[in-house]
Subunit: 306 residues, 4 copies
């Protein structure tokens, strides 16, 4: 994600870009990608650690896999927070625990800077095309306005969601509902087909009725119902079961924290955890729940025994 | 439902109408409603039992509460099947077990008639306005074509779903997904609000993201998010929890029959059964799950204790 | 089951035995087994259909796989009910829908006979050893007393459960709780082991604490915790996932009928349906849920990806 | 809990006792309780904060409500860790997150002391009678042996569970299984009774069959089945729904951390969260799930509508 996002910042802004990645090859890949005949090549510098990035840049954007990495990049040795300046604006685009997002923001504020959480949806494709959706939590609309222009070059849409942490809340809420809807569509299509319905016809009826949802009309999990979706391509690409399992863990942890009842959310979380714990499904798109339901542990033809 | 559906047949066709209802006052209500200044009043006759209806009418339309009533009206003493003629077309608009729909159809066929199952969605409002959606199961497209013109006066849309019973399959599949989606939206909105999000903003984000669904963008369960939906009117009217509980029982029974795994469907069924077993919620729209989550057993303010 | 149950009746009673099985080889197997040097060989006759059994025997005992077979053996052509006499006592040991058990009993009563439902627990082993538990539903304690002596030769324990159908109710209630407990133990042991606990120690603590249950202290699903249980023998033998899935379907169908909320029961039913729909697990004991949780879709080592 | 535990230490040992509670009245209550004619009164001192306790006592025992309180008592201003000595042995009997237990232990070790986590089961009654079960996590069996004699005066049983944190693991594993079993028993008894079984008879059958568990044979949730249990006393006393909800949150958080699938555990957690969020049930024993199932939102007689 970070590679594509930074490329858009290089291509669409005049800003000087200072990059850092703990994995050196990623830095090399980025440099070579932007050196080739780019008039902006000399606008890119490399920092040796997060602290140096914060010391040299007024606006810092981070994109990391999960909570532990965010904590070490921000709070570790030579961490980002050590380098925060009084005029720093720190934007974290990672999807992490709400508590982590709030904690990192207050660490930055304690150093005199400003911080927002800005998790994204849209996946690799959106990052590459610069059409991500950002959900931004900030201590005030003013702070949001400061961050917005720096996200626009990478975005189709930038939402202001309220207080710090609310960017994460909006993201996990949407993805919890997405995870529930997708399993619901998989169970429904599987039931209808087993009862003798044509899958395209059933999808058409649902998509014009009260069962209508994105998982059915835009990302249908049944092979052949829609073209150009993972289900019609062996469940390759798309949004992996392991990523959905991660987001659902964040959602259920948040619900535990808030003592908010999420019966379907908790069950969906367990289903994705079970599925993503297998070699076969860990690699597949989250719509492969349809295949899992149909094939159980992976037998070509579901053989019912009684 | 039957009252409104029959009114449309009187108003929009030139057919002679022969009615029967085991509950005499319903017949009286229908007659008085259609007598007042109606040029068609003399086109309506009353039959004393289902058998007589079948003997006198080439096309018979039934609309009944559930499987037991369908079985007794079709197979009971002076039942509809006794009166079936070689040119009979029997259309059952009730929502019943798939097995029941298939069985009643074959009883009619055994008497030389034709039969289709044609359950509806759209509720009382759709029945009154003549904008119902019919999902039709028939032994052939020819039989479907025979039934279609008789449903049109009551319909916005008439679907041909395939073999006898498939009308029921399409209906319970859509409603199972609807029940899952609605609980998913209720849990999601409840979680977001408890985490500090504004409910209208969260709904707006979801409705333009991958969590988008009818339960969120057209029938949102949070009071005040949308006008003119039950949630903004004390959860009055709409589609009752008891009706959703019934449809989810039909769906899970069908899944048991087909040995099709419906984890979220089965849990949604239990949630609606639990909710609809209470005085308070039995009367409310199925979006009142939001209120149930928020208020637990109905305390005005959810007080968390730990 | 029937083979072993009938052997005990031959061995432990002086009654003449008239047998029938639609599958001829089963009859041959039974005859040859009891011919070899058995003084009782001449006490066994073969009937050509269920009707003949009922005509010739005052006490009829049936043991069949599921509801459809019971319906055809009792109500089919040359079915058992056709042969029922005014002095007949019909004992059905099959595990079937409560509605089916009640219906078959009333068919027998309509012919002037008496009927009880008497499903068993104890499995093949109990059938062979004559140590089955019978749960008996009968119209009165007198009828129960008539049936009891005929079950004793095959039983360790014979319960009188009340009205016709209650034998089935007791059986599916116990087995629903068993299915829930077993999955609960599998999840708990799996969690504890993944968190670093020794499996034998955790089992010992649980078995002396409030989590104690038969699935943990007598039939522990973790290989090596107990000797001589399926989990310590590759999950071979025991009570198959498909049989548990069947009993849980009966339980959830009954709950739908009674509008009784069974949230964990419904989810357990779906889990066993999912597991038993696979080649690998359909053959294994119902404690193999532990293996399923540990291996996901059957990969030797659970590899977590995030 | 702490009040009763400390009383046993005063009564059954010769040790000098130094107490602290942030809530002054608790300290007064304890002093007056032990002053009345107790020869040990002068053996009790009051410390003004956790740090002072650690400075003055070689063995420190803490019993706190939940993770946040443990964190502030150990790490806060004048916190326990500040006072830890090279010969300190710190025993935390609170039920907290496994991660918290491990973190607090290493804080103590960093100060040169030794630490064990020793959560209890047995409730207020066990604390008063000195019959608690302690589940102890320690860095070595030697450290466990140091702690054991100090727990014995309060204990019926002291388990060594392995590494630091394993005491918490054992506790939440047992309680997760307990929560699942109890809901399973409630659903099963409710189903059986609605199907016409006598509750005492059904319990007797289950308790001698494979459904047998502590929740059924020792703590049955159906009023009247057992004497002297909460269910036979209006669900008063016992182990509250809010405490079970808390332990299930700890269990599901741990499962999220370990990526261990807990489908029934996650659903049980949500059910207890929903129930404990209501005025009525927050006060009741965790077996009141039976009442909740029977009465939905608290209507005296479950009225089914369809």
């Amino acid at each position: 994600m970070g590679f594509h996002m930074a490329n858009n910042l290089v291509a669409k802004t005049d800003n000087k870009i200072i990059i850092h990645d703990v994995f050196k090859p990623s830095v090399d890949r980025f440099m070579s990608h932007n050196r080739e005949g780019s008039s902006r090549a000399n606008a890119i510098d490399i920092a040796s650690n997060p602290k140096e990035v914060a010391e040299r840049a007024a606006v810092v954007i981070t994109m990391l896999p999960a909570t532990p990495q965010v904590e070490s990049v921000y709070m570790g040795n030579n961490g980002l927070v050590e380098g925060v300046r009084s005029d720093s604006l720190v934007i974290d685009c990672s999807t992490v625990d709400v508590l982590c997002a709030k904690a990192m923001a207050s660490e930055v504020v304690n150093k005199g800077g400003k911080a927002v959480d800005a998790p994204v949806s849209g996946g690799i494709g959106g990052a590459q095309a610069g059409t991500l959706t950002f959900m931004v939590g900030a201590d005030s609309e003013d702070t949001f306005r400061l961050a917005e222009p720096h996200l626009q070059p990478m975005a189709r849409k930038v939402w202001y969601c309220g207080a710090n942490g609310n960017g994460q809340v909006a993201k996990i809420c949407n993805n919890m509902l997405l995870g529930i809807s997708m399993i619901g569509v998989c169970e429904t299509m599987q039931l209808g087909v087993k009862m003798g319905m044509d899958s395209k016809l059933l999808a058409e009826i649902i998509n014009t009725s009260t069962g209508r949802c994105w998982s059915s009309d835009t990302y249908n999990p049944v092979p052949g119902v829609l073209p150009n979706v993972p289900s019609s391509n062996g469940y390759q690409g798309g949004f992996g079961n392991t990523l959905m399992a991660k987001d659902l863990r964040l959602a259920t942890n948040a619900a535990n924290e808030a003592k908010s009842t999420v019966m379907l959310g908790a069950l969906a979380s367990q289903i994705y955890n079970q599925v993503s714990s297998t070699e076969e499904y860990a690699k597949l798109d989250f719509s492969s729940i349809f295949k899992w339901l149909q094939q159980g542990s992976g037998v070509p033809d579901r053989k019912i025994k009684d």
